[in-house]
Symmetry: C2
């Protein structure tokens, strides 16, 4: 964690709040600009890959002045991160909505992730795929790993396992994200639930499960 995400003067000082306006809605122009910048960035990532996108590119595609960009974001990375923050909030909400069910396997979090990715395909293409950058992917990894640890800790503790939580969490987090990345690059060939089921099998029973014929579980012809 470096010194990322200095907020600059994020959110216009005091303006919005006409009726019962949500907490300090920024000026309409601000929203517009930010939206346009994000869209431009995402579409550019899909075109050329994150690394090759230059601030100038974003400026051109968004048709926004140079100084305007820097008024909102410290640099290219900050723009991406701000976008990711919104996304991750969304994702976290979905996790929380599911949490009480308290599945035993790590497939709960993974399934939610796959579902979420499938809903926001373009964004995940820009995030994880061939084209994505390292930065946000690490953020995502950290996020999922956190959730995974929280999810697994009680189970491991209850069973008195001698495996450190971090190791187990890291294992399943990486497996999930790796599968996700692969899936994205394969252009979402499988249904999200199908992928989730495969993950679930591998996670729950390991190679042994993988070597089983899928018969007993097979839910359709």
């Amino acid at each position: 964690m470096t010194d990322q995400e200095r907020p600059l003067d994020r959110g216009a000082p005091f303006s919005g709040g006409v009726g019962g306006g949500r907490a300090a809605e920024p000026d309409r122009r601000v929203r517009r600009t930010r939206r346009i910048l994000r869209e431009a960035l995402v579409s550019l990532i899909l075109d050329k890959g994150y690394e090759r996108v230059t601030v100038q590119d974003v400026l051109d595609r968004a048709d926004v002045g140079r100084s305007t960009f820097y008024a909102h974001h410290r640099d290219k990375d900050a723009l991406l991160v701000s976008w990711f923050d919104d996304m991750s909030e969304d994702l976290r909400r979905e996790f929380d909505a599911m949490a009480p069910g308290a599945q035993v396997e790590p497939s709960g979090p993974a399934a939610v992730l796959f579902q979420h990715a499938h809903q926001h395909r373009d964004m995940y293409r820009a995030l994880c795929g061939r084209h994505g950058g390292t930065l946000v992917f690490r953020h995502l990894h950290g996020l999922v790993a956190d959730l995974m640890r929280g999810h697994l800790r009680p189970h491991l503790a209850a069973a008195g396992s001698d495996l450190p939580v971090e190791v187990v969490a890291e294992f399943y987090t990486s497996a999930a994200l790796g599968l996700l990345t692969w899936w994205v690059d394969e252009d979402f060939r499988y249904e999200p639930t199908r992928l989730a089921r495969m993950y679930q099998r591998l996670a729950a029973t390991g190679v042994i499960g993988a070597l089983d014929h899928g018969d007993e579980v097979r839910p359709h012809p």
Copy 2:
């Protein structure tokens, strides 16, 4: 696979071979330069992280002229890749040396990887850790995934599993590399064999194994 690694004029035309020189050994100066460049790069990565290392930095630390650098490598990435290629050759050899044993679980490849990483700690720190770049890591991922596929395919085929090999391979590859990365960042706290054993357990039996008390296997107090 893009157009990486144009050899330029790798290997001086014809010079070496004074005594009984090995097959077309490049000029002594060339070897020296290349070695110095690599060392400089690696040490710089460990200092600042790959992304932040600039060609200029390498030039300064290696005390080498600009054109010299570009005579040997197309850019920063190419330098790193050339280094990685050597490493990976080494790694692949170790895999092959082990292959005939034909373990059932994916822990074979993983164990070799962990061992190799432990032997070349500094290099893996520069490769996988917090500081590593995306590029070589993807290469490594590809390499391991390949091996994993080759390793798993026969077993899955024999058992008539309905899981696609790519999925299973991706799962275990990502898990192994994720664990590796984590381990590197934790400064190799565990013994490589210990890590391998944990991986092995998770890979073989899944969460079920993780929830077991480690008693039956525990080889020491």
